[in-house]
Amino acid sequence: MSLTGAADLAIDLRDVAKTYAGKVHALRGIQMRVARGEIFGLLGPNGAGKSTLVKILMTVIRPSRAEGTMLGHALGDKATLARVGYLPEHHRFPDYLTGAQVLDFYGAMANVPRPARRTRSAELLELVGMAQWSGKRIRSYSKGMRQRLGIAQALMNDPDLIVLDEPTDGVDPVGRRDIRNILQHIKDRGKTVFLNSHLLSELEMVCDRVAILVQGLVSSQGTLDELTKGRQRYEIEIAPAPAPAPGAGPEDTYRPLLPAIQAAGLAAEIEGPVLRIGTTDPHAIQPVLDDLRRAGAVLKSVRPHRPSLEDLFMQAVTDPTTGEILTPGAASDKKPARKEPGR
């Protein structure tokens, strides 16, 4: 997706920082671009600053430094929020209200005229599967129902940008699938979705682009293809021989092939019965497969492999020098912060 013009961007953060109590650096200069019409995922370990960033976008927290725009307007511009929908993490609706009253109240707070509120309320309750619960008080709702209602609430003003903080929190698998479908529906209508979630598999399924936040900095961002570029490969697995020689394993079948593979300019790695070849080109592995067949190996599987979001995440939270997982939480004056990438 092209991210060249400012008009294409729903969110364009050039330098956003937040320091609490003068010493806890929750955000240390965020740079992030979210294109219009995409589903963008924000991930990171606990205390990385994800919620702080979302709250700064929604004017719940005042930034220490904020350079950037949201929907073309400076961050913190209250009028822009009329075009933004938001579902906070652990949101709490007044339990004396019914589902329909919640939508009406937050719709009015978002400056939606009364006739539009009535129409949208009915449509959205239908969309999130809560139509039959619209007249019931919130106190009788389950966590999943509250979450569905929360999403409907975030859509009341027909926003151009929807910011969802852990939308699938407490939702069962069926509910998660429904929420994914709703997100896709929103995207199909040309809206932008900014998603903050711990559920990497969920993000992987719906996001066009992601950013990984670690200790208040964007560690990496882009499409999954961009982020895994150079790390994609083919994995070949052979079945164990019916009567192997004593002490012999599948790797002994692979080993004679390695010089030829490396001579072709490809990286190769053997791990048990699996041979990994550093290419995404199916033509490049055909000679290897031919050689394996000639050697009498039975091919069990041949599959292209792309690192998962979890792999990327783990890589991002691992200290490259020590190989240890970085301490969770924001950087403080007492705790040494990770070296800023590219600085």
Partner: protein, 387 residues
């Protein structure tokens, strides 16, 4: 405007869901029912079908409508609405701001296109809805009782609504800001009640100081009158002595021991009376000074008691109030010579007049300034806070 209306509608729904709101409303109506059961006939006070013979309280001495108005302005409003119902209202509304800023709730509201200052102040005003509705229902019911039972349709009764609302707003502003600062309903409620007790203490002290000042002033006036009468008597005796050719001590002969002048020489009681007057003058000056200090202290605080007593000013004249003081009707106030004490009806009357002399602008203006200061503090906190 759409957002403001939404906040008010939400506040009403919240009240509607609170049991305490309906319990308070029910008790209010019971109070009005009891109020309606009282009556006055030519023998005395009546309650349902019983009559209590009271020679000083019957329709011959007091019109029935004035009794109802007196009960409304001195019992219904100051005791029920400004103490009991206010405590219930504080209990019921103390949670408004802590709930409003609780995690998960405030994020949703702050993410809407509404300024923080407007949001906080609107939320504060919606918090007054509890008392607004309670006092409106109570006053309307009392208005009907006075009209039907007392035969007087007193529209000035409805002044109770803004007066009680203003009174409650002083306390609720403190409660709201404490709720914002502590995030705790219990802490904000307890500290607000404590602050209210401080206001009440200052008001009570001011009332005592005013009584003292008026008592000492009255004593000064009375001792001055005694001295003037003694001097007049002495002068007449001197004139008579001159006419008779009798030598006048201090003029014709030396003064006798203990006499300061020829008047004291002729009137032995004058010396003591003058000493009493000097003491009374000193005492009056002392209490004048102390009540001045208290007035200054009160100026910067909300005047809870005087705000409520404004209703008395508009519903009952000082003369109407005197009807309810049998001593005040019986005694000759101006010609009494004895030393005034706290129970002296003239002291009470003067103290009441002194309080009534304080301007409405001072009573409400300075109190609202205090409230504006507290709310400004709260607004700054709310605008600057990260949630």
């Amino acid at each position: 405007m759409r957002q403001t209306l939404a906040l008010f509608l939400d506040a009403y729904r919240e009240l509607n869901a609170k049991k305490l709101f309906w319990i308070t409303m029910f008790i209010s109506l019971i109070v009005v029912a009891v109020y309606a059961m009282f009556g006055l006939n030519d023998r005395g006070l009546t309650f349902l079908w019983w009559t209590f013979d009271l020679p000083l309280l019957n329709t011959k001495t007091i019109p029935a409508d004035k009794l109802y108005k007196f009960m409304f302005a001195n019992i219904g409003i100051p005791i029920w609405l400004t103490w009991a119902a206010t405590i219930l209202a504080l209990i019921s509304t103390a949670s408004i701001i802590p709930d409003f800023i609780a995690g998960g709730a405030i994020e949703l509201t702050l993410s809407k296109p509404i300024g923080r200052a407007r949001l906080f102040l609107t939320k504060f005003i919606t918090g007054l809805l509890f008392v607004g509705l309670q006092v409106a229902v109570f006053t309307t019911a009392c208005f009907l009782v006075i009209g039907i039972r007392g035969g007087s349709w007193e529209f000035r009764l409805f002044l109770a609504i803004p007066i009680v609302l203003v009174f409650f707003s002083y306390l609720f502003s403190v409660c709201a800001v404490l709720g914002l600062a502590t995030r705790s309903t219990i802490a904000s409620l307890l500290i607000t009640i404590l602050v209210w007790l401080v206001f009440w203490g200052v008001n009570t002290t001011d009332g005592i100081f005013i009584l003292q000042r008026e008592r000492t002033r009255l004593n000064l006036e009375r001792t001055t009158r005694t001295v003037e009468r003694g001097e007049t008597l002495a002068r007449r005796q001197i004139e008579k002595a001159r006419a008779d050719g009798t030598p006048v001590p201090g003029i014709d002969t030396p003064l006798p021991a203990g006499a300061a002048d020829e008047l004291e020489a002729f009137n032995a009681l004058l010396h003591g009376a003058r000493a009493d007057r000097a003491k009374a003058a000193q005492s009056a000056a002392t209490w004048q000074r102390w009540s001045g200090y208290m007035y200054a202290a009160k100026t910067v605080l909300p005047k809870t008691d005087e705000t409520i007593r404004l209703l008395n000013r508009y519903l009952l004249t000082a003369e109407d109030l005197a009807l309810f003081n049998p001593d005040g009707r019986r005694r000759d106030r101006d010609n009494a010579d004895e030393r005034a004490d706290f129970g002296d009806p003239e002291v009470a009357r003067r103290a009441e007049l002194a309080v009534r002399d304080r301007s409405v602008l001072w009573v409400l203006g300075t109190s609202l300034l205090f409230e504006a200061f507290v709310l400004a503090l709260g607004t700054i906190m709310f605008v600057r806070r990260d949630f």
